[in-house]
Symmetry: C2
Subunit: 299 residues, 2 copies
DNA sequence: TGCCATTATAGTTTATTTTTATGATATTTG
DNA sequence: CAAATATCATAAAAATAAACTATAATGGCA
């Protein structure tokens, strides 16, 4: 039994396929198959049910996987502890970022982070919250930037900054002249939102106490805020945008932004990690970098 | 970084010597030295201070060792979990047994245990409590049979049986005709005990409220109860023997045994293991075997 | 300083792991 | 239903890693 065998086993369990797992482990499929076979022989049990597609662990496999996860975490912590002792921040970090944050935040901290920590290989994936949660469970992501409270309990959150909601409104809209807009003033039929899956959509609906699925005539499959804003302009409607997006708007777009009256109209943006995760020093560095970048941007 | 490297590192830390550690790992010294060197190179830190005799871990070494212990425990638990799932009790178990129990207990359970669990390789070491505690700390023993309450807190105890103290008295002694003997009747100068280090000595002294070191004319360096009993016979003195020893006495010796009056004149014999230790299924099997054997012996 | 014990290094052998090539099996699709 | 495709297993060769033997360097101690 070796660490590599455990890693291969976890990869197969995560990807549901020997071939794909081998790819991701940067070895050929026979190498991986052999190691899994050796592990099964040594333990005297079948760990994976190859008859199913995707390949799933047997009962024994699940037991071993649970222990293997602990072992691999403890193993990774060794290197982690040494790095921390040396004061080095190094390694790779796979980061998921939700689409309503990514375009407005990444450019703020990525360059300075990369410069400050040349030993860190940061891999950013723009993903919806649900995909992020799934990926973290399957150990395909080390951390993620999501809205606070939208993930499950076994993911711990560290607040990065608070993000206030604003109204982006078409000049043709009757409410355009208002200095600020109250939630009660918003006509749900005039509100264009991102398609389902974006957590900001749910947060806004909750804010408007429109818990049921909104079906406005303009409920297009808008994948980005930019698209939503263009659609707002074209239709005379409005939308709600996160404060983080304001910094990346053109002066003309900025003219169309109105503050939302009343408190509690904001979301917390957090750095989410699996509890008891190992790359603590990297995550600490990343968190500090982002907070600093956001503070600088506001100033 | 491999599991083997971590095992080698732990071995050197435990034995304080590359050569000895290599011996115990069943490899040659250069093999072990190479692996340690590779580990140090990969982590980029020196783990062992070779200038000291015995070799001691550096600060980085201590950090790595702490994590490595966790990793190796988690690693061992994988096999453990599989064995438990298969209902198999297999593996090796290094057991320490105190000298006042070993000669009277081992033959009771060892044969039936070996027969019932052919997959278990049991290695028994007769050792004093202090040596047992030290050996368990250094992971040279998996479990031990000791008197309850004589070990440190980080060792957990499971009671195996209660062992009542008796008086073994020379026929020449004035108290020989008594049916039972009270503690107060015992003349400390007539009491022969095992040499210091045997926990039973301390327990008896405490019983007799003779906390100070007893200095009878017969305070020889008696290493075994058998020797003490012969000395008792030769000098007309007496000693205190554990009940477990009665079963192995000759009929003539048995004649010289008197019960000790008053309660609380017994010790608990326990199976001690490091907390959070891994070989749970083996230890459970051993414990059950011993309890059964002791019960059978009394019947 | 020289001896003894201990660890490090070099070169060789052995063992293990990986790869390439290919075969077997199951699933999908025309 | 059969051909095509995808996926995992197996076999032999190549590459890599680990072990051994022999020997050199080092470090304490008389």
């Amino acid at each position: 039994m070796t660490i590599i065998q455990l890693e291969y086993l976890m990869a197969v369990a995560n990807y549901g396929s020997f071939t794909l797992a081998a790819d991701r482990c940067f070895v050929t499929q026979p190498s991986l198959s052999m190691q899994i076979k050796n592990l099964e022989e040594e333990l005297g049990v079948t760990l994976l049910d190859r008859s199913k597609k995707p390949v799933i662990p047997t009962e024994a496999g699940r037991v071993v996987l649970a222990r293997a996860t602990e072992t691999l975490n403890a193993f990774a912590r060794i290197r982690e502890a040494v790095n921390e002792m040396k004061g080095e921040v190094a390694g790779s970090l796979r980061l998921g970022v939700i689409p309503t944050v990514a375009p407005y935040l990444l450019h703020l901290f990525l360059p300075s982070f990369a410069q400050q920590y040349p030993g860190v290989q940061l891999e950013v994936h723009e993903m919806l919250t649900s995909d992020i949660v799934e990926a973290m469970k399957r150990d395909l992501l080390d951390a993620a930037i999501i809205a606070g409270g939208t993930g499950p309990n076994d993911i711990s959150e560290e607040e990065l900054f608070s993000d206030t909601f604003h109204v982006y409104i078409s000049p043709q809209n009757p409410l355009y002249e208002r200095v600020n807009i109250r939630i009660e003033d918003i006509d749900p039929d005039q509100l264009i939102l991102l398609f389902e899956g974006h957590c900001i959509r749910d947060q806004i609906l909750e804010l408007c106490q429109q818990v049921q699925t909104l079906r406005s005539p303009y409920s297009f499959e808008c994948g980005s805020l930019e698209t939503v804003m263009r659609l707002v302009d074209a239709t005379g409607a409005m939308t709600i945008v996160p404060g983080i997006a304001l910094g990346s708007m053109t002066p003309a777009q900025r003219e169309q932004v109105r503050p939302l009256a009343r408190g509690a109209t904001s979301r917390k943006i957090v750095l989410a990690t699996r509890r008891a995760y190992v790359k603590q020093s990297l995550i600490k560095a990343l968190s500090a970098s982002i907070k600093e970048a956001v503070a600088d941007d506001l100033a």
